[in-house]
Amino acid sequence: MADASSVEIRGVDKFYGSFQALSAIDLSVPPGKVTCLIGPSGSGKSTLLRCINFLEVYDSGEIRIDGRMIGYDAPGGRRMSGGALRRMRQSIGMVFQQFNLWPHMTARENVAEGLLRVRRLRRAEAMARAEAALEKVGLGDRMDNHPARLSGGQQQRVAIARAIAMEPRLMLFDEPTSALDPELVGEVLGVMKTLAGEGMTMVVVTHEMGFAAHVADRVAFMDRGELVAVDTPEAILTRPEDPRIQSFLRTFHERNSF
């Protein structure tokens, strides 16, 4: 991808009431690279990911996409207008743990909806692009199915098609395989690997250590709202120095081996 986005996160804090969900987060996501966010439950991974497209409001600090701040017109400034925010979101794809497909639409309609309403493409053009995106995730034969008629893995691939049809320069994934039966995880990770291979900038919250180890360029470890370390997968996953990472990986391996 020629024009993949970069993300710069600096000094981001986020509060839920008096509870601090994110503390002074700094993270650089280079263009065309895959960054995995890992860490224990409740550590703030989803919150941070959702701040990147401003689905969650951060309270201080700044998040910049290709140098442009999202959510506010300046650090500590006023909230960005709805229109400006929507324009920025158009080039950020998001994939959710629960797929969040629209159940009253077919797979094709799910993918075409953003092209029609947001991109304002003509119907024929939107449908053609939706079909191409579905072909790409291997669902060329399922376009007329409603989500209820698709397996979890197929639904998540439709959700990925819905995001990539908008031709985003950045993709955010929040535990995209956590709601899937184990035998369906592979098909979704396969599509994500292909995207990564094409040079898409990706931020992936995941518990799939295999994916983090083999596909990620960088792995960030979070704990209690803090970003503890960012490094190569190798450094974080095989020889971590921080005791919090060591203990996380230890419980993780215990849970996944028998």
Binding site: N53, L55, G82, R86, R87, M88, R89, Q90, I92, G93, M94, F96, Q98, N100, L101, W102, P103, H104, E113, G114, R117, V118, H146, A148, A159, R162, A163, M166
Partner: protein
Amino acid sequence: MFSIQAFLDSFGPLLWAARYTLLVSGLGIALGLVLGALVCAAALSRWRAARFVAALWVSFLRGVPLLVQLLLMYYLLPVIGINVPAIVAAVVTVGICASAYISEIWRGAIGALPPGQSEAAVAVGMNNRDLWTRIILPQAVVMSLPALVNELILLVKASSLVSLVGIMEVTRASQAQAATTFRPLEVYIAAACIYLLINLCLAGLGRYLEHRMAV
């Protein structure tokens, strides 16, 4: 002795009177849907004053019996200088009362949608209007259909109350018929049959709609 003849003879006048039962409940639900949408929008609005008015509207209309509302309207309108036929006052009162229940039905349906539905729309950059017309309302309306049909059935039955302000609907016509024929049992059994028939049709319609619109 039960008289088949008196029973059958009751159907003529009662079916004729059923026009008013259908009119009051049909127009009542139509008005209730329109007002209910407005009240629901107010209840979900970001303006505190609108939410307050909606809450007041709903709690008053659900807290006061329809019969009292009808009598209130019937006696209040002339006092404030509005002279309309009783049937108009009845339809408006029934519609207003229904709007309270319908706005709650819709608020419930909208609230029952998983938040991820809106999040997915917001994440692709959809604006508020498309979010509501394309994502939220199509799903909420389908989800609310069974409850709306139920509300309509309740209205058909509640419309018997408008007999008290002098409208010759099925219940009032039954009273008149019973008074002239001295066959109350036959007449009221016929009235029951008519209400049952109307509501069975509505229930069937409800099942059909649900089936048609289910995804």
